[in-house]
Each structure stands twice: as C-alpha cells, then as structure tokens.
C-alpha cells in the first residue's frame, strides 16, 4: 500500500502527540498524584443513605488525623445539605475529603472555579480529597440537570482562617 511521504510524516507526528497526551495524563495520576473519583466511596441505599457505613448524617466531621476533615454532603432536589441554607465551613490549612451522594436523581457537585467536580449519583458515594491552603469563599453549583428547579440548586463553601473555626462546628 502506497502512503505518501508527507502522510507518513504526519502519521508519525500524530502518534507522537497521542502518546504525549497519554503521558501527561499518566504523569498527572502517578507523578502529581491527582486522584480520580472512583469506586472507593462505596454504595448506599438511595432512599436511606445513612443506613450504610459509607455515608453519615450530612455535615463536617474530624478526619483520621489532625487537620483532616470529612464533609458529608447530600444532594437532593434542589439543595445541598449542608451548603445551600448554611455554608459548608472548613478551616484553611486543612485536608478535606468530600463524600457526596444523591438521595433522589443524578446531580452534579462543583466547587466553582476549582477542579472539585463530581457527579452525585443515587446509590453511589463520590469521594474527593483536596487541600485548602488559604482562606476563601467558593460557590457550589449543581451542574447536572435535576428537574424544573435545577437552576436554583446552589450553595457556598467558606474556607475560614484556622482561628475562626470553632471546634463545635465539627460533628
């Protein structure tokens, strides 16, 4: 089969680029330690999420070591609990694991302007671990269509200076 010289060159360059892209993603996972949302959060009963050990009453909990926190967030039409009526509050200089599930339909959980972005699927718990170095204010938004009030489903996340974070805020 005759392949033109330029086309062979193009083919090799395209393949090199593809391998490079796969390489960058692999580096992100292995080198930079970017953890994808996966199946580690386990499953729950969508109609009774707290019945299983994989999910707790929504709120902020102390993590396995000092400076680590676990935040359990329930997404439902058209609220984040916590997040919508009360902001999620965590201290700066902390490592936070979000555990997100939905108790009705599929929702999205996006911390606006960051790469904290996961689906909230009924029956599954999404876990994302992130580090908050500095205090700041973030919006929460549902980025998957979830019904006629979808556009009202929002909330906020406050990363407060460690001195302003009260121990009583932790469950």
């Amino acid at each position: 089969m005759h392949v033109h010289r330029f086309e062979r060159l193009w083919l090799v360059a395209a393949l090199a680029m593809i391998v490079l892209f796969i390489g960058t993603v692999t580096y992100g996972a292995v080198g930079a330690g970017y953890g994808m949302v996966d199946d580690t959060g386990g499953q729950v009963d969508p109609t009774d999420a707290t019945a299983s050990e994989n999910f707790r009453e929504p709120g902020v909990y102390n993590g396995s070591e000092p400076g680590h926190y676990d935040v359990y967030i329930e997404a439902k039409q058209f609220l984040f609990v916590p997040g919508t009526s009360d902001p999620v509050r965590v201290p700066a200089n902390s490592t936070v694991t979000f555990h997100v599930t939905s108790t009705d339909v599929v929702h999205g959980f996006e911390v606006v302007g960051t790469n904290i972005n996961t689906m909230a699927v009924p029956g599954q718990v999404a876990t994302i671990t992130v580090e908050f170095d500095d205090p700041g204010q973030y919006g929460l938004v549902c980025n998957e269509y979830c019904g006629s009030g979808h556009h009202t489903m929002e909330g906020s996340l406050e990363v407060v200076p460690p001195g302003q974070f009260n121990k009583s805020e932790v469950n």
């Binding site: 959060g41 339909v105 790469n115 699927v121 269509y145």
Partner: protein
C-alpha cells in the same frame, strides 16, 4: 499503478457508459432511492427548523437578553426538544438519506424492495413523532405527556412511556435501514464477485456495523429498564448502570453524526474543490479505526462518576486518545485533496492556492468551513478527553461549546452544504435562492465562532451547562478571559446568527422543493472522479469487514465486560432508585 480488473475491459466502453450515466440526474436513474432520500431529508430538515427555533429561545433566555417566550421551569422542555430533534433526528434522518443515495450511486443499482425501504422510513418517522409528542406535551399544561429528561434521559428522572417507545421504534428503523443497504451490497456482490467494495459502500457498512454494536447499550437501557419503569412494571433502577449503558451508546453516536460528514469530505469535497481524493486506501483505514475504537471509550463521559474504578476510566482515556488518529489522518487527506484541487484550478504558492478554491460555491464553502471548525473542536475535545484536566470543565458550558463545533458545525454545516449539491440531483430541480445559499455557510461560521468561543471561556469560569439562569444568588463567576456580560452577549448574537443561518438553509431547500422540475440546468455535476491512489493500491484485508467487526466486538468486551458485570453482579436493579417523573 495497476488496475487489473479495469485493464480487462476496453477503456473506451466504460468511459462511454459513464458519460451517458452522467447526463441523467440521480432521480432519473434510481427514482425509488431518490424518493427515500428525499423523504429522509424532508424529516431531517423539519427537525432542523424546529430545533433551530428552540435554539434561539434558549440562547436568548439563558443569557437574559429576552425571556418573553418561556419560564425558566419550561426551559428544560425546550432544551430536551433542541437536543433530541437536532442530535438524533436532524442528523440521523440526514444520514439515512445520504447513505441511501450513496448505496445506490456507488453500487450502480437501486434498493431491492421499495416497500421495505419505505417501511423502515415510516417506522423511524413514527418513532420520532411519538418522542417529539412526549417532549412538547411538557409545554402544554392540559396534555398529560411530558419528557423533560434532556437528550441523555438519565434515570431515575422519568419521561412518559411514549418518549421511550418512540425512541425504540426509531432505533429499530435505523437497524432496518442498515440491513437494507447491506442487503443491496450483497445483491451487487453476486454480480461482481471480484471487485473491491466501492468506497462509499465500504464507509456505509463500517459505520452501520459500529452502530449495531453501539446501539445495543441504549436498546437494553430503554427496553429492559426505562420503558418498564415508566410503565410501572418495575419500581426502581440502578442509576449508574443505566448511565453506563447510555454512554456505551452515547459516544459512538458522536461518530454516527460525524461519519456522514466524513463520507462527504472524502467522496464529494475533493471533487467540489476541483480535484480528486488523495488516497482511497487511507480512507478505508480511517473508517476501520472508527469501527474498532468508537465504542470502548464511553467511560470518558463518566470520568466524574463515582462507582467506576479508575482503571476503566484510564482504558477509555487511552482508546479516546487513539481515536484522534483517524481524525488527524482525515485532516491531512481533506486538506491534501483540497490543495490538489486548487492546483488543478491554477492555484500556486505555499498558501496562495487557498484563493483558487471555489469559495462562492456554497457546497464547497460549507464543507471547508465545517472542516476548519472541526479542527478547533478537536482540540477542545482533547481537553475533555484528558482525564484529570477534564475536572475543570466537566459539565460546564465548555462542553456544549465543544460539541457545537463538532456535531453543531462539522456535522451540521457539512450536511447543509452537501444538500446544496445533492438535493438538485434527487429532485431534478435547480437550486433556488442561490445567493442566499452562497452566504449561508459564512453566517453559520461567524455565528458559531461567536457563540462557541464564549461558551468555552464561560466554562473555564465554571458556568454550568444545562441551566436556565445566567447567574446565582450566593456567588459570582470570576472569568479568566473576558467578562460575563461580554460572553453572554456573544452567545446571544451567535445563537441568533445560527438560527438565521438554519432558516436561510431551510428557505433554499423549501424553495427548491417547490420549484418546477426541468426548468434550467441543475448546475451540479454529479460525477465523482477516481481517487489519485485507488482501492487497488491497498491490501485486500482492508475489505474484510467481518474481521474488523470481530476485533471491535473483542475491544468492547474488554472495555465493558468487567465493569458491567460488576454493576449487574449485585443485582441489575441495585442500588435501587425509585423514579422521579418530570
């Protein structure tokens, strides 16, 4: 280069026959195939008209420019209509039309049974009407139908049973259409035992085989889970399993939109440029790669899904990146064929040859502009495919920004452009409003440039897709490039131009449809010249479609076998989520 099968025949005889055939329009030679193509295109363009009108309502509503048509709660009925009518009905009725034409044209024979062909068309049409009825019922309070589930219909959101039943009927119609073309090929094969498969039929068969594999996922999702759920026969489904089945189908459907465009770029565009296709063998390689790699990539739509192990996402990512290869090869061939055409027309220089191309011919201009935008869409798609960087833009406005370049331009604008060339041949009527047709591709190009760049940038700022409101109460978006009002304005103006572009196209088509037959020359030349490097230059194994089909099935089994098994192992309906009708 040797052409053994051809050298056995007297050259002059074949040339005579070709020129005689070329004097007749397609409609004169294959009246039945022309009729089926016309019917498919009629439905396709009707869906385009409605979908485009819904598009402008959305563009103006969500940018807060004009909100007088619908409420924000009804926005999602409109969005469902826009998605289903354009992504499924406009594109795929067009596909069935152009593939019917391509089958008859390249095999030189009509479809074997007019009744069967009309049958699959009517089945597809009735399915489409049922689904559309369920969707638009949502806009009328007194009608008990609604299907505000969007184009992806993720369970446990639940539509009226009519929505799912219509989709199922329509899908079976597409299967029968594929069977019709493949059957025609086997008829041809009996009389031509040693010929290479004609290129257009080769493309049609590989595309349809991909479709048969891919639609298995959505067929199981709809028939086993969603339709019984909506009828109340079962009381819950596993949302993750149904999502996975959807995306088993949901990525290859992208190639089902693109393949008619590739089909046109490979087999018609080189001729419109004034030249010939650069390489037939590489065109075959590209379609084989699409058959093999289109399906085992669906998990790249589920990078952000819990419950799917990272390893399966990684396999999907790798396959997705390799899917870039056939598109890169296409970019080369298309540009090389255009350059060859331009030089045949007297073009010279490194880039000055571009000026020698027929930019005033709407069929050429539309295809070329669509190809250019596809390159931009391809690069934004690489970001989507990058497993970790995707987290920045997953489910943001970036994503519709991306697919309006791909399906919304590469496919849609090519389909419109090719219609300017093909519609006169299947009606025997001269194209009307030629001046409107000439500027239409440019209107589309400008409109999409405005809308899509702003959507991409808004996505980078975190603006979600699929929402009726431009802003939120508890926070403001902080864009990196540009300002929110500027982006909203570009989206509104771009969306308006796109709807205008669609209506200009429909005006040309309706005008031509209503025109009198036999008045004036058709102004199109249907002859498709032989490629510079023909099929006989390639190994025969390329035509072993069964082998490629088998490899595709094996790859799908590797990518999906274990994940689906593990989702089903704990019970196909577990975790059990009850339905939420919308």
């Amino acid at each position: 280069m040797a052409h053994p099968h051809r050298s056995e025949q007297p050259q002059a005889y074949e040339a005579d026959e070709t020129s005689l055939k070329d004097r007749l329009a397609f409609i004169d030679r294959y009246p039945n195939a022309a009729r089926i193509t016309r019917l498919c295109m009629g439905v396709s363009f009707t869906a385009l008209t409605i979908g485009a009108l819904l598009g402008i309502v959305q563009a103006l509503h969500r940018t807060n420019v004009f909100r007088g048509v619908i409420s924000s709660a009804d926005y999602y009925s409109v969005l469902t209509g826009h998605g289903v009518l354009l992504a499924l009905f406009f594109t795929i009725f067009f596909l069935t039309g152009i593939f019917t034409w391509g089958t008859s044209r390249s095999l030189g024979m009509g479809l074997p049974s007019p009744g069967f062909s009309l049958g699959w068309f009517l089945l597809m049409l009735s399915g489409a009407v049922m689904t559309a009825t369920a969707i638009f019922g949502g806009l009328v309070g007194q009608i008990p139908f609604s299907a505000d589930v969007l184009y992806t219909f993720y369970a446990p959101l639940q539509a009226h049973p009519l929505f799912y039943a219509g989709l199922a009927a329509w899908l079976v119609g597409t299967w029968l259409a594929g069977a019709d073309w493949i059957r025609t090929y086997y008829h041809w094969r009996q009389d031509n035992p040693n010929e290479r498969i004609p290129l257009q039929v080769f493309m049609i068969m590989t595309t349809m085989l991909m479709w048969y594999i891919a639609t298995l996922g959505v067929a199981v999702e709809v028939l086993v889970f969603l339709l019984p759920l909506s009828l109340g026969l079962i009381d819950s489904v596993d949302p993750l399993l149904t999502r996975t089945l959807f995306w088993f189908f949901g990525h290859p459907v992208v190639y089902f939109w693109l393949m008619p465009a590739y089909f046109a770029w490979y087999t018609v565009l080189p001729k419109l440029s004034g030249g010939r296709l650069f390489s037939d063998p590489l065109a075959r390689v590209v379609f084989i790669l699409f058959l093999i790699l289109s399906t085992p990539v669906g998990f790249h739509h589920q990078y952000a899904d819990p419950g799917v192990p990272e390893g399966f996402k990684f396999i999907a990512m790798t396959n997705t990146m390799f899917l870039l290869l056939p598109s890169f090869l296409t970019a080369f061939t298309v540009v090389a064929s255009m350059e060859y055409g331009a030089r045949q027309r007297g073009g010279t220089g490194y880039l000055r040859w571009l000026k020698a191309l027929p930019w005033g011919n709407p069929a050429f201009a539309g295809c070329a502009l669509a190809g250019m935008m596809f390159a931009a869409g391809g690069f934004s798609g690489i970001i989507n495919a990058g497993m970790n960087i995707n987290s920045l833009i997953h489910n943001t406005l970036w994503v519709p920004g991306h697919f309006h370049l791909t399906v919304g331009t590469a496919s849609a604008l090519t389909m419109m452009a090719i219609s300017y060339w093909l519609y006169p041949q299947i009606t025997g009527k001269r194209l009307q409003f030629y001046g409107v047709a000439q500027i239409q591709p440019y209107i589309w190009f400008i409109g999409m440039g405005l809308m899509s760049n702003a959507m991409h940038r808004a996505g980078l700022a975190g603006v979600p897709r699929r929402t009726a409101e431009p802003q939120y109460q508890q926070f403001d978006f902080a864009p990196v490039l540009g300002s929110m009002p500027e982006m909203r304005l570009q989206i509104a103006i771009g969306g308006t131009l796109l709807t205008l572009g669609a209506l200009m196209f429909v005006l040309v088509m309706v005008g031509t449809w209503l025109a009198e037959r036999g008045r004036g020359r058709l102004r199109v030349d249907s002859h498709l010249p032989e490629p510079i490097s023909g099929a006989s230059d390639s190994p025969r194994v390329l035509d072993n479609v069964k082998l490629w089909f088998l490899i595709a099935v094996v790859l799908v089994a590797i990518a999906y076998g274990f994940p689906i098994y593990s989702m089903v192992a704990d019970g196909a309906f577990n975790p059990a989520a009850p339905p939420f009708p919308v």
